[in-house]
Symmetry: C2
Subunit: 487 residues, 2 copies
């Protein structure tokens, strides 16, 4: 933060605070002060510039009014990442990690490598034989009709089953007329973008988040604003700040077992977020990857359950909980958006596979879903235990982790002298792939290179992999200490 001390300002200007604010603004614009970074404490800056504390307070306040900085109560004043900056840094981040080395579905992990990076479920636990029964029932009963063009919104009986299912499993009260069947969550996000985003619009997303949203939102011409995730969910002060100043169309959020952090949005924040959406007229796109996969403690329900004012667009995929290859998920949309969503879905692919949708309807009717989820919870609970045992042993190297209550991954906090890429490359040399925390960021933020996500989703050699990660962490930490001492 030394740069800010060297700002240009006119000591005799009146009012003085405006001159200081202009000096800081210049540093923000030329990116000497980076988006997301903390400005110096008021007292500290005042002393360095040789001005009164109240003058710096006034300068910060004026910058805040211009939307250049924001205040985090009890923490300080931070530089706002501008939408333009976000887009640019997005490109940079892509260049740096995603295109080059690591991107979900793109990174080729060969058979002799241990994959602790991916978020794909284990093929070994897929309910193939139950699904085969359903498939053959459809082929025998419906014949050619299973393969006709079908309603763009989805096979009607499946939509009715999903409406009952959403009520009984997620506490969401909705009719079949609010449900749109899609080809997984990614298509759901594409359809939502088509229906809601106009070129040049702004949308908000958690920071860090699932990186696949980057491509889909930006391809529709949206600027993305990232909102930091705290231990109890996204920072709602920043959300409000953006909502008020940038008028975003929607917020993309995973309120339960967030990817990649595993964080859950607290009860209080849930209430306040819906209030904000109502007050500033934006939608909440809730991606519910894992609420079914509660591994520790009490089960949490989707945010949509609490949506009394039609603000939440609920997205559910069966990829993680059943199997990705069926490419099916669904949207529960507020009624007033349904028509536009249906048109967008039609433009996207006319309709999904009626064959698969009919087979899923049979699968649900036969009660196979519950049976499958019970099996998965037991399976992943064991794998979480194995992972936590290893991760807790990393504590001796200064490694902490976020609380995990469900999902597929553990979010590690690295000490400030070790970066995620240090460990990523070390692990890769030992044929283990981990997910560098920085690959989940859409915008630069202080400390973004000090996380790792370890996935226990699918590797058959989980224990071996975790052991190697431990060794790599140890080696990285030791090397850094050596540097610190001798150089």
């Amino acid at each position: 933060m030394n740069e800010i001390v060297s700002i240009q300002f006119d000591k005799n200007a009146k009012p003085l605070y405006k001159s200081i604010a202009r000096g800081i603004k210049k540093k923000i614009e030329d990116q000497t002060i980076k988006g997301g970074s903390r400005l110096p404490a008021v007292r500290h800056l005042a002393k360095n510039l040789g001005v009164n504390i109240s003058t710096v307070v006034a300068a910060y306040k004026s910058l805040e009014e211009d939307g250049l900085v924001y205040t985090k109560p009890g923490s300080g004043t931070y530089c706002m990442p501008s939408p333009a900056q976000t887009a640019q840094s997005d490109e940079e981040a892509s260049e740096l990690f995603l295109r080059e080395e690591f991107e979900s579905g793109r990174l080729i992990v060969s058979g002799d490598m241990i994959n602790l990076a991916g978020n794909s479920p284990s093929a070994g636990v897929f309910p193939v034989s139950d699904f085969k029964k359903a498939v053959n029932e459809v082929l025998d009963t419906d014949g050619g009709y299973a393969f006709s063009y079908q309603e763009s919104e989805g096979y009607r009986p499946l939509r009715e089953i999903l409406s009952e299912f959403s009520k009984s499993h997620y506490g969401i009260d909705c009719s079949a007329d609010e449900i749109l069947v899609t080809s997984g969550a990614q298509q759901a996000l594409d359809v939502i973008s088509k229906a809601l985003i106009k070129h040049g619009d702004t949308v908000m997303a958690e920071l860090p988040s699932y990186t696949g949203i980057r491509s889909v939102f930006t391809i529709h011409g949206a600027k993305m604003l990232g909102i930091p995730v705290e231990h109890d969910g996204i920072d709602l002060n920043i959300t409000e700040y953006y909502a008020k100043n940038c008028r975003p169309k929607f917020l993309y959020i995973m309120p339960v077992y967030q990817t990649p952090t595993g964080v859950c949005l607290s009860a209080e924040k849930r209430r306040r977020l819906i209030e904000l959406a109502e007050k500033y007229d934006f939608y909440i796109v809730e991606d519910d990857l894992f609420s079914d996969l509660n591994l520790v403690g009490e089960r949490l329900f989707p945010l949509k359950k609490e949506d009394t004012c039609g603000r939440v667009i609920y997205v559910k995929s069966f990829s993680k909980l059943m199997m990705p290859g069926i490419r099916t998920g669904f949207i529960i949309t507020p009624k007033k958006l349904f028509e536009n969503m249906a048109k967008a879905k039609y433009a996207t692919d006319l309709s999904g596979s009626g064959f698969i949708q009919r087979a899923l309807a049979v699968y649900f009717k036969n009660g196979f879903w519950n049976k499958n989820i019970e099996g998965l919870v037991g399976y992943y609970r064991k794998r979480l235990e194995i992972t936590l045992r290893a991760v807790n042993s990393f504590k001796r190297y200064g490694i902490g982790h976020a609380e995990v209550k469900g999902g597929f991954g553990v979010w590690l906090n690295l000490p400030s002298n070790v970066t995620d890429m240090d460990i990523y490359y070390k692990c890769k040399q030992r044929k283990v792939i981990v997910a560098p925390g920085s690959s989940f960021y859409l915008t630069p933020a202080a400390g973004y290179q000090h996380h790792l996500r370890l996935s226990f989703a699918s590797s058959e050699r989980l224990t071996d992999g975790l052991k190697i990660v431990g060794e790599c962490i140890k080696s990285a930490v030791n090397e850094t200490s050596t540097h610190t001492i001798f150089i």
Copy 2:
């Protein structure tokens, strides 16, 4: 064309032709002269305005230089539909027919109605039992792996099979690395739009054409230019005019058995179109619905076969030729576009269904495709004969039709005193649905309301339906004659 005679111009202006051009321009801008309509003959206008012929020639030339009109050699001067006009008329047309009454996949045709409008194949001829064999082979052999996430570009062995298949069946020489598997042709068009269209770009399409393109291109912010289809394919003079003046990104075209007219692009026009694409730097998006379904005369090959300079993006769907419910098709893209297409596909839905793609690979490997096509050709050839027999009997009412050599439909030309909607409503009252020609137009054009498309794709009561259409045509023609004589 009387409106143009009443143009405002200053008889003493110098140069006089500019004053006349301004007067005509005003009429074009306020849409008194409609896009697509023919301007009066030079001689005729000169006489009416009391000016020299050369003055009118100069006025038309000046309008042509401004991109407001175009000359069709041997036919006259026509008003250009502007992109803005196109978009607006598009909306109007949607309102008028598509949203209200008729749109592929949206029009509900109840069980007691005879559907001669749709382009969906008969469920009765779907190769369900062969596909079932393939499905079960995959489930038994691959188990859970059939349902994992798969490469976004498509299941590699299927892409290799499709590359060989494209060579042996369509004469297209391409490698698996140029093939991208999609969820049908509609998703292919969505992916192509994402990869190529920037907000505000222009694209070209045939007029009339498949109306599903309207939503996908406009959702990506493209302006659409319609190019009239002649008996030997689109008008290449207008194509060149647009290519030169509007710099479109691509032309969407069905060179073989065009929907809805059935027209085939002549050998000479194929050559010239590729030259134009090269000269003016646009791509040709070839939608090959039916080249496999050659019912009369010699088989025609896709335009892509002749593409030596990487200008043609080939789109193939299995919906019409196998069954829509498998939601699978593919793109063959020029190599330099592959990376962008793959990214766009990834943003759209991560990947298609690996399960279905594996089953298709088995289906092709077992030779089921050829067996199926042979069956289809025999089946549809008979239905075409039935349809032509009926249609030829409509001649007595002044009804002609375009030549049909393949595909699912016959394009009727109605006499100028009967509109498509007259007959559409009459047929609907008798519980037969036909496709009004105007529903296939993206822009207004002279005579666009004097066509009908009769589809012989799927109705089980084809003969009954055609008989009723004949009766409705007879009744419509007679009513109009009565009007003409007595009112």
